[in-house]
């Protein structure tokens, strides 16, 4: 059995669970409720005009000043493990705008005024035995403290604390969980073979989680973020495997059919949809994760590929060549009620659902190059997010604001991340070739 040291519970999760959360006082809670009501009220009038844009614009104007933490610890112990990821998270949150900080003002209401910020994030890091304690408070220009929280853990979880705090601040502002603890699975050949890797949402903390020394590709998260399915090529066969971050080794899902590619977990059951093949006829199949109850959902003679469950688990999108070119289709999870979704582009594949189930992103060939296209599931209207090179295999962030994808614009396949309007493009991988990103489903 091959061990996966980086996803053993002892590595991150048992420590993570030691993080404590101190509930805010009734007074603080009252302030938070007031704040949320205020925000909700101010948004309501604008909602009728264009809800999506104005919600983002309203959120984006929350200016926040984030001075370095007050601490006795050396600066380098705080800067890159904690302060850098925290400010990176907040700047990318779509909720906060980070205000420049005037010098020589302590982290209080005066700083909020001087920085022309709605909030100052006052941070204090102390040591208590083996534990590091983080205290975080939001302070308004009028001296109110609508948010206060304490986090405790060993120093190794400082980065996790930064992401948790950023998540909590985002939730405090708009009620939605942040994505700063989400993970992106991908395949990388930087060891000489394609293996399954993970990274944090910002491209840091990249780590290898399979060691087959063969060809392991197409990772796909389970809905609870605990498991990952992938395809392993070994001994002239391609087979489906599942690894579990909580241990138990590697499970071979024995489907009894060939191919076993594009595995994807149902969000509501133990089913896994995948591409199976009997006698050269690739179709969409479903099997339970214990290798039982194999069902074939499509029966066309054409090629069927790349299934993906809708977020509510009731539908499955897939690619089919039945019209003569690869196009995106959607069917009910039982294989009935097949409808074609894509009509533009001569080659479409890699459909992926937005978390709210309203949109599907996919790879679409335009003028000989692959680009990311986003289509509305109901109206079927679509738009292209154009970029250099070929851009393929999109995957949505759990909050629906970002898309990660692979591009060969640098000459090799690398993974990039951008907002769904195509802005804030960031390259996340650099070593070897990296592809097939799959963003975890839960923000966690």
């Amino acid at each position: 059995m091959i061990r996966h040291p980086l996803i053993r519970p002892s590595a991150t999760f048992s420590r993570g669970r030691r993080l404590s959360y101190s509930a805010p006082s009734p007074w603080v809670r009252g302030c938070v409720v007031t704040l949320i009501l205020f925000l909700a009220n101010s948004l309501h009038a604008q909602t009728q005009i264009h809800p999506e844009i104005n919600r983002q614009q309203a959120a984006a104007i929350v200016r926040i000043a984030v001075p370095r933490p007050e601490t006795i610890l050396p600066l380098e112990a705080i800067e890159s493990p904690f302060f850098a990821p925290l400010t990176r998270d907040l700047a990318a949150s779509g909720v906060f705008a980070i205000a420049p900080i005037p010098p020589n003002i302590p982290a209080n209401a005066d700083l909020a005024k001087a920085a022309n910020a709605e909030f100052v994030l006052a941070l204090k890091i102390t040591q208590d035995g083996a534990d590091t304690i983080l205290e975080a408070r939001l302070i308004t220009a009028t001296g109110l403290t609508p948010f206060g929280r304490r986090y405790r853990g060993v120093p190794a979880v400082l980065t996790r604390m930064a992401h948790m705090l950023a998540n909590d601040l985002v939730r405090e502002m708009n009620g939605q969980p942040g994505i700063f603890l989400s993970q992106i699975g991908f395949a990388s050949n930087r060891t000489g073979h394609f293996e399954i890797w993970l990274m944090d949402w910002d491209g840091t903390n990249q780590r290898q989680i399979t060691t087959h020394n063969a060809l392991a590709i197409l990772p796909s998260w389970s809905a609870d973020n605990d498991r990952m399915a992938y395809t392993l090529f070994s001994g002239g066969r391609s087979e489906m495997y599942i690894i579990n971050r909580r241990g138990g080794g590697r499970i071979h899902v024995q489907t009894g059919v060939g191919l076993n590619t594009s595995a994807t977990f149902s969000p509501i059951s133990n089913d896994i949809a995948f591409v199976g093949s009997v006698a050269g006829n690739p179709d969409i199949y479903v099997i339970r994760d214990d290798s039982t109850n194999l069902r074939r959902l499509t029966s066309s003679y054409s090629i069927e590929s790349t299934p993906e469950w809708s977020p509510n688990g009731r539908q499955i999108s897939f690619t089919s060549g039945r019209s003569g070119t690869p196009q995106i289709y959607v069917m009910d999870a039982e294989g009935t009620n097949v409808q074609r979704l894509s009509f533009e582009g001569e080659w479409n594949d890699d459909a992926t659902w937005s978390p709210d189930g309203e949109q599907i992103g996919y790879t679409s060939r335009v003028s000989g190059r692959f680009q990311i296209r986003i289509a509305n599931v109901i109206t079927r209207q679509s738009r292209i997010i154009a970029g250099e090179g070929s851009n393929e295999q999109p995957t949505w962030s759990p909050d629906g604001r970002w898309i990660a994808f692979q591009s060969n614009r640098s000459g090799a396949w690398q993974i990039y991340r951008m907002r769904i309007d195509g802005t804030d493009l960031t390259q996340l991988t650099f070593d070897g070739e990296n592809k097939e990103p799959d963003w975890s489903k839960k923000a966690e």
Binding site: L259, T261, V275, A279, I303, W347, E392
Partner: protein
């Protein structure tokens, strides 16, 4: 009467002498070979038959004789290496196994591909001790996940063709690598054409 008898005897004797004169030099020349005749010339004159080339030659070299040599196919089998990688190299070099090539986004067999697979099937039928893995490959222009399915279809189209030509279906397995393992890393049509193929690999006995 006696005179006539004498004449007859005389004539006989003269005849004898003449014959003897004729024979003696002949005997002499046989005993002493002429020094100016090269030995190669004599041997060259003995097998006159091979100078008649063209159609009769095969009959001469393959006589229903006791000096029997093995027929050609058995010779090649015995000279095949035991090492499976070396065996695949030899099989490819000598054209025993020939890959099938495809058009873009196609899994149907062209006439060239059919000829390649026919040659491969003939060899496989004669060499039943080997099993075959057919790898389906695609060029980089498609999408990865769809190409994995397309490669599966290509590998199976090649397999089915050889099975139809009499190769036992249980001897042939298929796998698809999609665009994961290109033969030519280039980004032009020449490279792509090489990468759209069903690759035949001997996988042992």
């Amino acid at each position: 009467m006696i005179n006539s008898m004498n004449r007859v005897v005389k004539g006989f004797l003269i005849g004898l002498v003449l014959i003897a004169m004729a024979i003696v030099p002949a005997c002499k020349s046989k005993k002493s070979p002429a020094p100016n005749v090269a030995p190669t010339e004599t041997t060259a004159t003995v097998p006159n038959v091979p100078t008649v080339t063209t159609t009769t030659e095969t009959r001469v070299t393959n006589p229903p004789d006791f000096v029997q040599t093995q027929p050609a196919p058995q010779i090649t089998t015995e000279t095949l290496p035991n090492d499976i990688e070396e065996l695949n190299r030899v099989a490819e070099q000598r054209g025993y196994l020939q890959d099938a090539f495809y058009a873009f986004d196609e899994s149907t067999l062209t006439s060239d591909s059919q000829a390649a697979l026919t040659a491969s099937a003939n060899w496989l039928r004669r060499n039943t001790q080997y099993n075959l893995l057919v790898e389906g490959h695609c060029d980089e222009r498609g999408t990865e996940q769809y190409n994995l399915a397309l490669g599966d279809r290509r590998a199976n189209s090649a397999k089915e063709y050889m099975v139809a030509l009499g190769v036992d279906t249980n001897r042939i397995r298929t796998v698809s690598y999609g665009e994961e393992r290109p033969f030519d890393p280039g980004h032009d049509e020449a490279a792509w054409a090489k990468n759209r193929r069903a690759h035949l690999v001997i996988v042992g006995k």
